[in-house]
Structure formats: structure tokens, C-alpha cells
């Protein structure tokens, strides 16, 4: 499945996911989750991987990119336990983590479902897929 930089040209109604606030730079990520794939951008010019979607490569300035699957394996770089206020779709308290992926890029992801006391910086984690209402989502759990 290809999710190239021009893949968002279709109308928003047909963007292939239900994430509530996205644009044509981010749609590939949410579409990947619909297929239970964790995708990140790979530069078509220099091959650099980048996370937190953005339209151009900061290394070589190319607009050419592809979405490639990553392993979903990584380690906790940092985490926070959200207590207040309650957020829709999450039972408090719930953790969120910055994860250093094995591929060398970072993701920020939910870790609800993991007991807050079990978390520590450096702990190995694995991505898992779930749905939150009609939105395809993912989170990390301890490996």
C-alpha cells in the first residue's frame, strides 16, 4: 500500500479515516491505523525517516516521501500520567509516553491500559492497535 505525498489530494470526505482533525500531511498516519499499520514518513530524496508528519524533509528539503511501516518496538523516553481533568475516551489516571522507536525516530502515544506505577524511563514497549469509538487508534504496552 502506498501513501505518497500526493495521496491526500482527494476530498476530505474520502480521506479514509475518522480522526477528527487532520490534513493532507497527516492523513496517511490515520489511514495506516485503519489497516493496523504504524506508518512513518521516509524521504524519497535522501531516505531519512521522520516523525511528526511534515511536508518536506529537513535534511534534504525534498517534498517526495513515502509512508513506511515501522516495527512498533521501542523504549520509553519520557511519560506523564494524566489525572485531571477527565478526557473523553480515557479513564483517569492514564499514561502517555514519548517512545524512542527501534528505527530511531520518536512517537508520542497513549499507554492507557498499563498501570501507571509500572512505567519507567527506558522500559521496552510494543505498539498495539485498538479502536476508540469509530476512530482507529494505537497505544503502547510494556513488552
Amino acid at each position: 500500500m502506498a501513501y505518497g505525498g500526493d495521496a491526500g489530494g482527494e476530498a476530505v470526505a474520502g480521506r479514509g479515516h475518522n480522526a477528527p482533525c487532520s490534513n493532507r500531511d497527516f492523513d496517511f498516519f490515520y489511514r495506516g491505523l485503519e489497516a493496523e499499520q504504524l506508518l512513518i514518513q521516509k524521504c524519497g530524496g535522501c531516505g531519512a525517516l521522520r516523525s511528526l508528519p511534515t511536508p518536506a524533509c529537513a535534511e534534504c528539503r525534498s517534498f517526495d516521501w513515502q509512508a513506511v511501516p515501522v516495527s512498533g518496538e521501542g523504549r520509553i523516553h519520557s511519560f506523564v500520567i494524566h489525572h485531571y481533568p477527565p478526557l473523553p475516551g480515557f479513564e483517569t489516571p492514564h499514561p502517555i509516553a514519548v517512545v524512542d522507536l527501534a528505527e530511531g525516530v520518536r512517537l508520542v502515544a497513549a499507554m492507557d491500559g498499563t498501570a501507571p506505577d509500572d512505567l519507567q524511563v527506558g522500559a521496552p514497549v510494543t505498539a498495539e492497535f485498538l479502536r476508540r469509538g469509530d476512530v482507529a487508534a494505537y497505544r503502547f504496552r510494556l513488552s
Binding site: C21, F26, V80
Partner: protein, 389 residues
């Protein structure tokens, strides 16, 4: 290097009271603060020809201008980044006045952020602007509040430096101690202990309730003029020695999670480099620091970013009493935003001016230069203010 160093000055400051319910419109707060600042400076409101504020401020330049009886507004400009914008209007004013674009610039911030709406609430938004899609991408993970975003940054800092929640408590205790003797502070007469801090509930672990500033109603304005004009006015001129913005690579709005150091320190260091170069100073030349405390723990990273401590040493610097009124570098002598009020740092600018004029309630002796910072964890700004002699 910026060439407006010492060419402009803050000639007047004004503020409303700080409360949880002002009982009047935000525009009225802005107009009251503006007129008070102009009266403090001894400048007729009809002379104002420039205005600068935050993009987040709900009060339009022209509406304030209409209410104060302005005649000819030539310069109006706004700074984004929420609390990261505090010193941006000062820089705008200094640039505008030193280049002849404007002569009398009012910098203002006024809000009923407690009584008319809530601040620091979960962030979400449409349409899909470049900022909103990033907030949504992180909100999708359950990371939606400023407290949680800063908490994420500070957890890593704790891991790297050994700082603990008790170290964060030590700052909160100092802020509330300073506020306790400031009649204008919301927490006047209400000091806290480390134990109070440790017993306060978790908001976004590692951040507790007493690490968080309080939503406030209130307004603050300052009047900037040329240094030459200021010397002819009634107050001691407070020179803008330097003012700078800082957003080094990887800095995002409450989302700098993809750069090497995710703690809210790099942006402070970026502003600091410019400030010290422009003012031709070092941290040793600063007698008082007003460091933005939307969340108290960021004072640790700001102390390091602005060069007052080496990396990881802020916790011991605070524990050693250095940031108290009688310490080597008194910090947030008004009580900070934890203790006085949260007016997006503009009340801290006013405190810097009072310290330099010798008019502060917790006055420090021999103050010649004060560093003021804006919110960190976002693209930021800062200034060095000073007096002659």
C-alpha cells in the same frame, strides 16, 4: 546583534487588581491598565501611536484606542505562542520606536480567563491548521493539556538530573512565600510548606496542583518610549537593554518531543544568547530574575537555560536559598504566577520595573538589571531591563 539596546525604556506600568472574577469586561480591564500605565508615565493618552499584545488577547487595539481617546495609531502588532509571547511586545516596541515607526507604544494583556472561560483546558480545534493538526495528533494519545505536556518534558528532566517532586516543591514554597507579603497577590498571606505541596493532588504526574499557576482575571499594561523621552518623564526610566525571541530547531508549541532534549530549556538558552550579546552582559550582571512559572518546575530549566546554573544544578540552587529575596539571585519577588496571578507574564514585567525603580513590596537592594522571561516549552521571548547608574 540587535542595535536597539538601551534606546528605549518602559516609562509607565499599570495593572488592575488580580482576582477570580473581575466583575467587568476584558476590554475594560485592558483600558484601565492602559490608562493607569499612561498616568504612571505622565503621558497623555492622545499621544499613544503604537500598541502591541498577544495574539491570544481578546481586546482589539482599535477598541482600546477608541476608549482612551487615541488620535493616530500607526503601529499595531501581535505576538503568538500564548505565554511564550510575554517579551515579544517589548521587542516590537523597542524596534518600532528605535526605527522611528512609532513614539509611544502600549504593550498590554488583559483577560477574564477564570470568570468568563477556562484556561489550560484540553486543547482541540478545527479547522486543521498547522498547529491544530499537531495538537490533535498528540490529543489522540490522550495528551491534551498544557500541564500534561509540560509534565512529559519535566519527567525526562527528572530522569536526567535526579530532580524530584520535592525539588519542585521548594520552588512553589518560595513563590508562595514571596506572594505572602505582596498585598496585590492572590495568595497574599497564604504561604505553603513542602508538605502542603506534597499533599496536593496530582494533575499530570509529575505535576501536582501546587506546581500549577492559577487562572486569573486581570490586566497589565506598560508604556514604552524612547530612552531620551523617558528621561524627561516622571518615573525613573527602565531601559530595554535587550529583548529577544527564541525558537531553536525542534521547538514546537508545547510539543518539542522530537528534539534531543525535550525539557523546556533549549528555547530559553536561545533567547539568552541573544540577550546577553545585545546587552553586552553575562548572567553575573543580573540581580533579579523574573522567570515564567506557568508551571513551577519550569523555573528549574529556566534557571539553567538563562545561564544562572549549570545543567542539572537548579534544584540545589533553589534548595540553597539563592532565589529568595535575600539570596544571590532573587526570583519572582512578586510571588510569580503561582503566587500573584497568571497574566501571561505581564505582571512579571511590571514587577521587574518596580524592582528597578525601587518600588517593589519585596524590594531587593542594589538592583540594576533584571532578566524577565516568557513561557517556556513553547517558542519563547525574554528581556533584560535595567537602569542607568
Amino acid at each position: 546583534m540587535a542595535d536597539f539596546a538601551n534606546k528605549t525604556a518602559i516609562a509607565g506600568i499599570g495593572a488592575t487588581e488580580f482576582s477570580k472574577n473581575s466583575g467587568r469586561s476584558e476590554l475594560r480591564l485592558a483600558v484601565e491598565a492602559t490608562l493607569t500605565a499612561l498616568a504612571d508615565a505622565g503621558i497623555d493618552p492622545s499621544e499613544v501611536d503604537g500598541m502591541s499584545s498577544f495574539t491570544m488577547d481578546n481586546n482589539s487595539e482599535q477598541e482600546i484606542f477608541r476608549a482612551i481617546g487615541g488620535r493616530d495609531l500607526k503601529f499595531f502588532t501581535r505576538i503568538p505562542q500564548g505565554g511564550g509571547g510575554t517579551c515579544g511586545p517589548l521587542q516590537q516596541a523597542a524596534m518600532a520606536i528605535s526605527t522611528g515607526v512609532a513614539n509611544i507604544v502600549v504593550c498590554y494583556r488583559a483577560m477574564n480567563e477564570r470568570s468568563e472561560y477556562r484556561f489550560g483546558t484540553p486543547m482541540s480545534g478545527l479547522p486543521p491548521t498547522s498547529d491544530n493538526v499537531v495538537f490533535a495528533y498528540h490529543g489522540f494519545a490522550g495528551l491534551m493539556t498544557p500541564a500534561a505536556m509540560i509534565g512529559m518534558m519535566m519527567r525526562r528532566y527528572m530522569h536526567e538530573t535526579g530532580a524530584t517532586s520535592r525539588d519542585f516543591a521548594n520552588y512553589s514554597v518560595v513563590a508562595r512565600k514571596h506572594a505572602a507579603t505582596n498585598p496585590n497577590a492572590f495568595f497574599y498571606g497564604k504561604p505553603i510548606t513542602v508538605e502542603d505541596h506534597q499533599a496536593s493532588r496530582m494533575i499530570a504526574d509529575p505535576l501536582r496542583l501546587l506546581d500549577c499557576c492559577q487562572e486569573s482575571d486581570g490586566g497589565v499594561a506598560v508604556v514604552v518610549v524612547s530612552a531620551e523621552r523617558a528621561r524627561a518623564l516622571r518615573q525613573k526610566p527602565v531601559l530595554i537593554r535587550a529583548a529577544a525571541q527564541g525558537s531553536p530547531a525542534g521547538t514546537l508549541g508545547l510539543a518539542s518531543f522530537y528534539r534531543a532534549d525535550i525539557s523546556p530549556r533549549d528555547e530559553c538558552a536561545a533567547a539568552a544568547r541573544q540577550l546577553y550579546e545585545t546587552a553586552r552582559m553575562t548572567p553575573k550582571d543580573i540581580q533579579v530574575a523574573i522567570l515564567y512559572d506557568h508551571f513551577g518546575p519550569t523555573v528549574l530549566t529556566s534557571l539553567e537555560g538563562y545561564g544562572f546554573c549549570a545543567r542539572g544544578e537548579a534544584k540545589d540552587f533553589i534548595k540553597g536559598g539563592n532565589i529568595e529575596v535575600d539570596g544571590t539571585l532573587p526570583v519572582n519577588t512578586h510571588g510569580g504566577q503561582l503566587g500573584e496571578a497568571y497574566i501571561h507574564g505581564m505582571n512579571g514585567v511590571a514587577e521587574a520595573v518596580r524592582q528597578l525603580r525601587g518600588q517593589a513590596v519585596n524590594q531587593v537592594a542594589g538592583v540594576h538589571n533584571v532578566l524577565v522571561s516568557a513561557g517556556s516549552g513553547v517558542p519563547t521571548s525574554a528581556a533584560i531591563l535595567g537602569i542607568d547608574g
